[in-house]
């Protein structure tokens, strides 16, 4: 039991730190609140969808920026999409990079766009790791017979 309590505390602290460091925002809370008995894995499912979609978008972005003549409208469209989906789970830092990214697209600044692509990839992998760690923690707690802390 002690172990579970420890894990639960760890989880709470971990989530708090993610918010504090800006990885997640209020939207993530919303997701947690949507989770209920009829949908006990709601957050995991949504986040998984996000991961899938993001991989696809990042690939598209990389491809679009590799072209000889870059179609900035296309790039912008992808970034816009990415911005939208990152906002869905509250991936705050990813969203912020997307905003800067879009500005570069508007200016048709290739270098700026490439830089942003790197940045957004970086932020995405960061938040992805964080969330995966979080889910691991949750699994551990459940496996140990504990319940997830209420959000």
């Amino acid at each position: 039991m002690d172990g579970v309590v420890q894990l639960q505390k760890q989880l709470v602290d971990y989530i708090a730190s993610l918010f504090h460091e800006g990885f997640l925002d209020e939207q993530f809370n919303q997701l947690q609140q949507l989770q209920d008995e009829s949908n006990p894995d709601f957050v995991v499912e949504v986040v998984s969808l996000f991961f899938e979609d993001s991989e696809r978008l990042l690939n598209e972005l990389a491809k679009a920026l590799e072209q000889k003549t870059i179609d900035f409208r296309k790039v912008d469209a992808h970034v816009h999409q990415f911005k939208g989906s990152s906002s869905s789970i509250g991936a705050h830092r990813v969203q912020k990079v997307c905003i800067a990214f879009r500005n570069y697209c508007e200016e048709q600044n290739v270098e700026g766009c490439l830089k942003c692509l790197q940045q957004v990839k970086h932020e995405y992998s960061l938040v992805r790791n964080k969330l995966e760690t979080l889910f691991q923690l949750e699994k551990q707690i459940i496996a140990a017979g504990g319940s997830l802390p209420a959000t």
Binding site: E26, L34, N39, V46, L49, F50, D53, H80, G84, S88
Partner: protein, 552 residues
């Protein structure tokens, strides 16, 4: 057809509200579905706009409200919005992660009843039922009331809108909501009483729509009213409210077409003045600068009053300018909200347009700046116009578009003519016949406009418009003999007139009713033009114009 509100669901309304969510983002789709389910709504999700339309068409009365993302790969969210509005007449809520004012404005213009910014909170979704409810209320009112009702409604809308002056800027969705909520509360009782009498949702098939368009053209836009259209259409199962809301959508649709053709014409938007000169039609409605308009007008008229308006393209231009003008006016009317323009009322016939068509506002702005009627405001407006090139350009485009597409689009032409006729009740019918009727219409519109404008107050414009129109009609008749020459120039002038208007804040519209009005006008115009505006027109031009205008 099943009426959602008369079903058992009604008891627990808004629970069970049937929502169709359209979003290409799978993550959001899942989240929204969950959120809506938590609100006890019945949710259907769709990843593609095309699929959504199919679903809607298959189950005609199967949904109460549609929520759609703005950016979708297969179809622009605004297009979907229009289709849903025209075909199914359902309330549509737009969503986007992009909250730029321009986008929100566009959404509103296209008829969205709300525009949500992502990330969306559940509390925002909880209240979407109000849009469905409100719509029902309005439809019920349509059944009950007729023009008078609409007039009242419009005035109410007008007052509300003027209160929410900034709504147009897209920053005031909440105030709009509040207003609507307020309306809803008042109507709740009615709603309950009439829910069983609620009309079935009508699907506007191509045939039906054609009948509608034909009827609208026949009646003439200035006179158009749901009842008249309904009578003409002769479709037994169709109700007045069906027609009323469809009319609203139709107007939106036409204004969008206008805008698109504007863009195609590559006006560039901001500097309309240049464009106007080249494309009198477009410039007519576009405000870019009053001077430009005036110049255009003057130029057009200069050579020969008899000549069709636009040196290059007399008829088309006239029509287009007229159209654009009308269009802009029309849009203006719909956007009662536009605080600056009293004239707005003028363009759009009373109704509902006021409430919903935000898009026209922009157009109105442009158009209005040109309208003289609101003399004091007029000046103000004009000033405002300049600093907002982006806005005006957008608007101008519409006006321009009008001229462009008008010719090509029979619907649009009808729309245009409708608008014109809107102003001049009498000759509207002839509007589609560009040359002659156009002229006549112009003439009338001119008068109607002036009378309408002069007598218009933001709220009561509908009513006064109607009466003014009648009045001007009569006046026109009185001065019929003098109309012949005038008519010809009228067409040309229409744009000019409007343009002139801008410069002539003091135009005594009340004088319009006076048969000698026409005779007086040139004088007035001339005076006001020179005195009040940096009148781009030369005195010589102006006198030519005068000649054209001067019937007596």
């Amino acid at each position: 057809m099943e009426n959602g509100f008369s079903s058992p669901r009604n008891d627990s309304f808004p629970a069970g509200l049937r929502v169709l969510v359209v979003d290409d983002d799978p993550t959001w789709l899942k989240i929204l579905e969950k959120m809506l389910k938590k609100c006890s709504y019945e949710v259907t999700t769709c990843g593609l706009a095309r699929d959504a339309l199919n679903l809607l068409r298959e189950r005609k009365d199967g949904y109460d409200i549609v929520i759609s993302d703005v950016n979708m790969p297969d179809m622009d969210g605004f297009k979907l919005l229009e289709h849903v509005g025209l075909e199914m007449d359902l309330p549509v809520i737009m969503m986007s992660v992009d909250g730029e004012t321009g986008r929100v404005m566009k959404g509103v213009q296209h008829g969205a009843c709300d525009y949500l910014l992502k990330p969306i909170r559940m509390k925002e979704l909880r209240n979407i039922w109000q849009h469905v409810f409100r719509k029902k209320i309005l439809e019920i009112r349509d059944i009950e009331g007729h023009e008078s009702f609409e007039g009242i409604q419009i005035s109410r809308n007008g007052s509300d809108l003027s209160d929410d002056g900034h709504m147009f800027c897209g920053e005031d969705m909440t105030s709009v909501k509040k207003r609507k909520d307020f309306d809803n509360k008042h109507d709740e009782k009615d709603f309950g009483d009439h829910s069983s009498a609620k009309k079935h949702r009508v699907v506007w098939s191509v045939d039906l729509h054609q009948k509608f368009v034909k009827a609208v053209n026949q009646i003439g836009f200035d006179k158009v009213g749901p009842k008249k259209i309904l009578d003409l259409m002769n479709v037994p199962w169709l109700t007045r409210e069906n027609v009323a809301s469809h009319l609203q959508k139709y107007r939106l649709y036409l204004s969008r077409l206008q805008k698109e053709s504007d863009l195609k014409a590559s006006f560039g938007g901001i500097k309309h003045s240049d464009m106007h000169l080249k494309d009198p039609a477009g410039s007519f409605g576009l405000q870019s600068s009053i001077n430009t308009n005036q110049n255009d007008v003057a130029n057009e008229h200069m050579p020969d009053t008899k000549k069709t308006l636009n040196a290059d393209n007399p008829d088309p231009q006239e029509t287009s300018s007229q159209m654009s003008f009308d269009h802009s006016f029309a849009s203006l009317g719909s956007e009662v909200n536009y605080e600056a323009f009293d004239c707005r009322i003028w363009s759009e016939a009373p109704k509902i347009e006021l409430k919903r068509e935000h898009k026209p506002l922009l157009q109105l702005e442009d158009g209005f700046s040109q309208l003289p009627p609101c003399a004091p405001e007029h000046h103000v407006k004009i000033d405002k116009l300049h600093p907002v090139p982006s806005v005006t350009s957008g608007l101008s485009l519409t006006a321009r578009d009008v001229s462009g597409p008008i010719k090509n689009e029979p619907l649009y032409a009808e729309y245009q003519s409708n608008r014109v006729s809107h102003v001049s009740p009498k000759k509207c019918e002839s509007f589609p016949v560009q040359s002659k009727s156009h002229m006549v219409v112009n003439h009338q519109s001119y008068e109607s406009v002036s009378t309408a404008i002069s007598s218009m107050k933001p709220q009561g414009f509908n009513l006064s418009c109607i009466t003014d129109f009648d009045y001007s009609q009569r006046n026109l008749k009185a001065s019929d003999s003098t109309l012949a020459p005038f008519n010809e120039t009228a067409c040309l002038l229409q744009g000019d007139f409007h343009n002139k208007y801008f410069g002539l804040p003091n135009i005594e519209f009340t004088g319009c009713n006076d048969p000698s009005f026409l005779a007086e006008i040139p004088v007035h115009w001339h005076d006001t033009l020179t005195s009040d505006y940096e009148c781009p027109l030369d005195p010589t031009e102006y006198s030519i114009f005068d000649q054209g205008l001067f019937i007596a």
